[in-house]
Symmetry: C2
Subunit: 146 residues, 2 copies
């Protein structure tokens, strides 16, 4: 589906936001471990995300990564387009440059609706909405364990 970098990005940011909810600021080592990603590569990706302004960080003891609560929620489509371009959200299954309703490739009619669904998914969901889902799932599990 997505490439590795995008997968690590999604998993990493959702993990960070989940910890933020719990008033924690995880660091690279913890994040990489928890999301099952290569540590140095994870660090590099997070670095880039901070540079791009998607994420904030603090250096030194007690440091780590967090989301600026004043910023609006981060839609997946924004994030993914910044990471791997928009190959998942636009473009033609056949790889044609000018494929549209007027000049459709033979896959267009069937594929266009799927692409539209992807776009809806990418615009509708945010890192924060996903983290909230995970958080609620965790609460439910705790409850059931009692």
């Amino acid at each position: 589906m997505f490439n590795k970098e995008t997968e690590y990005t999604l998993r990493g940011l959702v993990y960070i936001q989940l910890q933020n909810i719990k008033n924690r600021r995880p660091g690279t080592a913890e994040i990489a471990r928890e999301i099952d990603a290569p540590p140095f590569y994870t660090a590099k990706i997070l670095q880039r995300l901070v540079r791009q302004g998607f994420l904030a960080s603090i250096k030194g003891k007690g440091g780590g990564f967090y989301f600026d609560g004043d910023k609006p929620d981060l839609p997946l489509i924004t994030l993914i387009q910044a990471t791997e371009g928009d190959r998942s959200f636009s473009g033609c299954g056949f790889g044609l440059k000018n494929c549209d309703a007027n000049n459709p490739c033979p896959l267009h009619d069937k594929y266009a609706p799927i692409r539209d669904s992807m776009n809806k998914l990418g615009s509708g969901e945010t890192i924060q909405s996903l983290a909230k889902k995970v958080y609620k799932q965790e609460l439910k599990k705790l409850k059931n364990a009692k």
Copy 2:
């Protein structure tokens, strides 16, 4: 969406089948030119498809590529899985190994239906069905040009 090799494969095979309908057997140079793909790379891909039994070829003068009419139509999903694996048809948006309805990643609920649509598309359409679409489109264009 798909990777380059898959795109060239789809475009190439549909072109071959379209020419077959017209009782022609195109060669590598013609195919590459018509589908706008790198000639040597196209040759290599077609070679592999022949080895895998998806396609037939004839060497020497008057040679080229064609589909064995006795074989059943070739579903896109079969072809694509043989080319790039099934990253487009299965697997989780988050990259988790055991993501399913019981143990869902936070994208699962929204992404699973999209993946299902992709599967339906891949099983429903074949190289032959796509070529037929293009053929009909061509006929319509000719008619309108009159």
